[in-house]
Symmetry: C2
Subunit: 80 residues, 2 copies
């Protein structure tokens, strides 16, 4: 069955406390190669078929249930 991936990330201008917390822990653990960390959510949706109507429904779902459009951006893609 086809799978649709919805990625939800905080908007760039929005403070990302989870990302900051991870980023702050890196030097203590000896990790120095990463200069910034942002954390979001990933949804894997199984669908019967990845046709236009289904993708339209996924976009609406992403906008209303999976993300908060005031503070988050989302992207939708079909997983081959």
């Amino acid at each position: 069955m086809p799978r649709v991936i919805v990625d939800v990330m905080p908007k760039p201008e929005i403070l990302d406390p989870q990302g900051k917390a991870v980023h702050g822990a890196l030097p203590r653990l000896g990790f120095n190669a990463v200069t910034d960390v942002r954390q979001g959510k990933r949804f894997e949706l199984e669908v019967d078929s990845a046709d236009e109507a289904t993708l339209a429904e996924v976009h609406q779902l992403a906008e209303t249930l999976l993300s908060n459009p005031v503070i988050e951006d989302y992207s939708v893609r079909v997983d081959a």
Copy 2:
């Protein structure tokens, strides 16, 4: 600056309560095209360069800090 994406998802055999909660809400909201939902985490890591040493460090970081290998799988890819 190059960006490395780390996706962390619950292992298939592990119960995913968040995914189940989202899936359970879909019919009430009129969404019928989605047959299953799994929810995980997405990390966007900014790095100075996406060379081999950095990617090795990101794998170690993903294994030790960003995921729980007992219940989660992770994947690492360079975001073009």
